[in-house]
């Protein structure tokens, strides 16, 4: 069972109380952008084998969207953090590097 701590209300919730929202930190493209950019924003996903930054919503709790850093090969969770950011915070990056020094870094 996947367990994440909601960074807003502090509740440690398991996945039945949460809803996954896919890749985090997507760069948004709207009207006026090129077809290619719009397609990339709407459909293309990183889908890595390994460290993945993603969105989650605490649906059966406070209802807020937050972000999590998780490994898709081992299912380990490196940490959760606020959705009010454009990229993963330093503390989360350090937590990943501590476990996986060979990690190529956030792209």
């Amino acid at each position: 069972m996947l367990i994440l701590e909601c960074p807003y209300c502090g509740v440690v919730a398991d996945e039945t109380d949460l809803h996954g929202g896919g890749e985090a930190h997507l760069k948004r493209f709207g009207p006026g952008s090129s077809d290619e950019d719009f397609q990339t924003y709407l459909f293309h996903r990183a889908n890595p084998k390994g460290v993945h930054f993603e969105r989650w919503r605490h649906v059966s709790g406070c209802g807020k969207w937050f972000h999590a850093a998780r490994n898709t090969m081992t299912l380990e969770v490196y940490g959760t953090y606020s959705a009010q950011t454009y990229e993963p915070p330093k503390a989360i990056i350090n937590a990943v590097i501590k476990k996986h020094p060979e990690w190529e870094g956030y792209k």
Partner: protein, 415 residues
């Protein structure tokens, strides 16, 4: 290749079964092939088979990081049906279903195709409308399906409780010519036929890089060294994004775990496949007597080939509600596979941004049923360099053009 036949069984029985030859060879890779296919699952092997059979291209290697048919080909619930709503889907799945009918003869390998009928239960008013619409669409597409009454459902499946308190059965979409086949035999049969045509099946050989020059593919790096090729075909299901990353492009796809489980074997009690999409469960009975049960996908990216336990609980709960007699059955095994899900829940077949590199992926939760049709369409795409009539609508460009094949109604959960 020595043909399998009743005579061969008698001959071998007379000499203590000492004379059976290996079904396929395990050669060392050559330096170069006309076509290298990555992924020796059903789709990869079917592509190789139809490249040889339909286009005479036999200088082909099929490379596989694990063992042959050990991915999703060996992990599905073996359901074959073609009752899809959209025309391009119905065409390719119906092609696949019709090829399954003659596959045992075509491959000289018993794939145990059993056209026992597939029933998709309608348990809400919107499902009734949806399946009636699908039945009408199928009539226009030449796919034989019908919408049947709850009484007919009860006749076909006497163990079903059609008056459940939560979701009574209001009817069902019934495809009598759909059914099941032995999943491993499909992979083994294709592998034997491909090996017989002189193709090389190389197992335990993982691709570590894709070589290219001037925007055209030239080969792959593998754990068995460099293998050059004129054309590269990627058919790696859940690992498609990972392989595409090596080739330098991204895909509109996410990989998630899908689970299945089987019960202890019991006497024959259900001779059709039942799918209940509203309550999230589907079930059929194998020839060994086990009830084969399919569950749901997890809602997050995952490459671990195991899923969350609560999905098993939800699935079993739904099926106990639908089939009360199974309530005291023990479950024997549970497993997971990594499925590649696209934005519109339809597959991708066609060219990639890299020259002479072709991709076939995104079958999501419904890959097994499509194996022969997918291989047929992919072989044409690889041989001619352009997708043909079957594959045409499934190109990567449909996401740029907004030309989706929206099967989320049909493929959201159950296959």
């Amino acid at each position: 290749m020595r043909r399998y036949s009743a005579f061969a069984i008698a001959r071998e029985a007379a000499r203590y079964h000492q004379g059976w030859e290996r079904a396929w060879a395990s050669p060392k890779p050559k330096k170069k092939y006309d076509v290298v296919i990555v992924g020796a699952g059903g789709h990869g092997l079917a592509t190789a088979f139809y490249l040889g059979k339909n286009f005479g291209i036999t200088n082909v290697a099929i490379i596989e990081k694990g063992w042959l048919g050990g991915g999703n080909t060996g992990r599905n619930t073996t359901i074959i049906r073609s009752n899809y709503l959209q025309d391009p889907s119905a065409a390719i799945y119906e092609k696949a279903r019709s090829l399954y009918e003659t596959m045992s003869q075509d491959l000289n390998y018993n794939v145990m195709f059993s056209p026992r009928g597939v029933m998709m239960l309608a348990q809400t008013e919107s499902e009734v409308r949806g399946y009636e619409r699908t039945a009408h669409a199928n009539a226009l597409q030449g796919v034989t399906t019908e919408f049947i009454s709850p009484q007919r459902v009860k006749e076909l499946v006497p163990i079903m409780n059609i008056d459940g308190p939560r979701y009574p059965v209001l009817g069902a979409l019934w495809q009598a010519r759909a059914g099941t086949a032995r999943h491993d035999a499909v992979a083994w049969g294709y592998a034997r036929a491909c090996s017989d045509m002189g193709m090389d099946i190389i197992q335990k050989c993982e691709v570590t890089g894709v070589r290219q020059a001037n925007g055209v593919v030239t080969g792959v790096d593998t754990t068995h060294g460099q293998i050059d090729c004129d054309k590269l075909a990627m058919l790696v299901a859940g690992n498609a994004s990972h392989l595409a990353d090596m080739a330098g492009f991204r895909l509109p796809m996410e990989s998630v775990a899908l689970q299945a489980l089987v019960s202890e074997p019991i006497k024959p009690c259900i001779d059709v496949v039942v799918m209940a999409n509203t309550v999230h469960g589907y079930m059929s009975q194998s020839d060994k007597g086990e009830l084969v049960i399919g569950g749901g996908t997890d809602g997050f990216n995952n490459y671990t080939q195991r899923g969350s336990f609560h999905h098993v609980e939800e699935t079993v709960r739904a099926l106990v509600e639908t089939f009360p007699i199974i309530s005291r059955l023990k479950m024997l095994r549970q497993w997971g596979g990594i499925v590649d899900v696209t934005g519109d829940r339809s597959p991708i077949i066609g060219k990639t941004p890299l020259g002479n590199c072709f991709i076939n992926c995104g079958w999501g939760t419904g890959g097994f049923k499509s194996i022969p049709g997918s291989g047929w369409a992919m072989a044409e795409t690889v041989a001619k360099g352009e997708p043909g009539a079957l594959a045409g609508a499934f190109g990567l460009n449909r996401f740029t053009e907004g030309r989706f094949i929206d099967e989320s109604v049909a493929a959201g959960v159950a296959h």
